[in-house]
């Protein structure tokens, strides 16, 4: 599936003084998402919108009542993801994944994605750095 070289973003954990620019992603995290509402969503990829300024993964999640609900997951900027080896084909439709992230402040089925975990346990980070999202919780 992937030449996902480098899509692993374990990075900012190295706390370099030079690695904390004042402005970062395209919007303020707190304007759109709620850091106090973490979500874990197990589902199947139905669509990837490979668009600027942020890409969006659509996944179908089965609720407790068995009904499928589509969630939209915001990721980092596609151009940066591409430079790090993550392309629009890295998550083909039908891929089963677990998304961890933070829910939209307006309560809609949208979230800012932090990480993607594949069925075999491999994990990638997909989120934006420095937009005000909580770090190292």
């Amino acid at each position: 599936m992937m030449t996902l070289a480098a899509s692993l973003l374990v990075t900012a954990l190295l706390a370099a003084p030079l690695a904390a620019p004042a402005l970062a992603g395209h919007h303020a995290f707190a304007a759109e998402f709620d850091a106090n509402r973490p979500v874990k969503l197990q589902g199947t990829v139905t669509k990837v919108e490979w668009i600027n300024p942020h890409a969006w993964i659509h996944i179908e999640v089965k609720g407790d009542d068995g009904k499928a609900v589509v969630w939209m997951i915001e990721t980092a900027a596609p151009n940066s993801m591409l430079r790090r080896g993550f392309g629009r084909d890295s998550l083909p439709v039908g891929t089963e994944i677990l998304i961890e992230g933070f829910r939209a402040r307006d309560g809609a089925n949208r979230a800012n994605g932090s990480s993607v975990t594949y069925k075999d346990g491999r994990k990638l980070f997909i989120g934006s750095q420095g937009t005000g999202a909580p770090v190292n919780q």
Binding site: L18, P21, H26, E49, R83, P134
Partner: protein
């Protein structure tokens, strides 16, 4: 006094060293004889260098050799970490996106700040009028509560980052593609995809009534240096900061940029800011742009996919109902 003079001389020497080409380097020329700056350049190496200097460095523009070595060590550790394909078992995986997808420099920066003048690396004082100008909500706002789309910065709205905001290093999308033709230089900037078409020669600027976000640019060659003077900006739209952030500048703004190819893969870039309605004195930014193997500009159709605009407004309205 003697110390002050020595410091002044040192900073002048340092400033002139910024744009000096090493001996033995002959800048290439285009088939029609202009200095050739063509290619895609990036300021990635200066990602994370603050616009304004941390006061701990005082008047010191450059890191010491030891500090550069430490930064390089950190950079290499980061690169090693980035190169892993998946999160290792020992990785501090977080539930927050603290491990973001950002672009990286390929060598450690030499400067302690992007501002090279004043000598303390700090932005000059704002005028009283400038302090009254409203700043749009930007990415750094921790508690935004937009009432309208008009409350957001021009960057968040995918409109523009201004001239300075389009070239100052940010965490991604720093590409600057330069294309030349006889009489013209064009710079295509990746993020927000501004294309600056710069006529060369002595033609006058547009009339004072004609104003725009990116201003009216005129270029000329001074030796191997491309000098671009831009005026005719709209009043109070973008500021001189990352992504056009910062206090909005005025309609009196004149930007003078200097692009000098100092090595085959390095352009020394300098930006002089003169805006008497906004700053107490003129000031200057400088940093290098580099060409890197395989680096290219990617498409950046921002407005079409800017779901964030709707989502942020919808979040603010939902908050009001609580």
């Amino acid at each position: 006094m003697r110390t002050a003079i020595a410091l002044l001389v040192a900073s002048l020497v340092a400033a002139s060293a910024l744009a000096q080409a090493p001996r033995g380097f002959t800048a290439p020329t285009t088939p029609w004889g202009d200095p050739d700056l063509q290619g895609t350049w990036t300021s990635d190496d200066y990602i994370g260098v603050p616009l304004q200097r941390n006061p701990q460095y005082g008047n010191r523009l450059y890191f010491t050799d030891q500090e550069i070595a430490e930064n390089e060590k950190r950079r290499q550790a980061q690169a090693q970490n980035d190169a892993q394909e998946f999160a290792g078992a020992d990785a501090r995986i977080t539930t927050g996106p603290g491990a973001g997808l950002v672009d990286r420099g390929r060598r450690p920066p030499r400067q302690t700040s992007l501002i090279v003048d004043p000598p303390d690396g700090r932005m000059p004082a704002l005028t009283a009028d400038a302090m009254t100008r409203r700043q749009g909500i930007g990415a750094g706002n921790p508690n935004p509560n937009p009432a309208s789309w008009e409350d957001f910065s021009y960057y968040i709205r995918c409109i523009t980052r201004g001239v300075a905001g389009s070239i100052l290093p940010v965490i991604y999308g720093n590409g600057q593609q330069i294309v030349q033709a006889p009489g013209y230089v064009m710079i295509l900037q990746e993020m927000v995809h501004e294309a600056r078409v710069i006529p060369l020669g002595n033609r006058p600027h547009a009339g004072a009534a004609i104003r725009s976000y990116m201003g009216d640019a005129r270029g000329r060659w001074e030796g191997n240096t491309l000098v671009v003077e831009t005026t005719n900006f709209l009043h109070a739209r973008t500021g001189i900061g990352l992504n056009g952030g910062g206090t909005p500048t005025s309609d009196a703004l004149t930007l003078t940029e200097r692009f000098t190819r100092v090595e085959p893969n390095v352009i020394q870039y300098e930006l002089a800011v003169d805006d008497p309605k906004t700053f107490a004195r003129p000031w200057k930014i400088a940093f290098p742009l580099t060409q890197e193997p395989g680096y290219q500009n990617f498409e950046y159709a921002c407005h079409e996919g800017n779901y964030g605009m709707h989502n942020q407004l919808s979040a603010a309205r939902a908050e009001e109902k609580k």
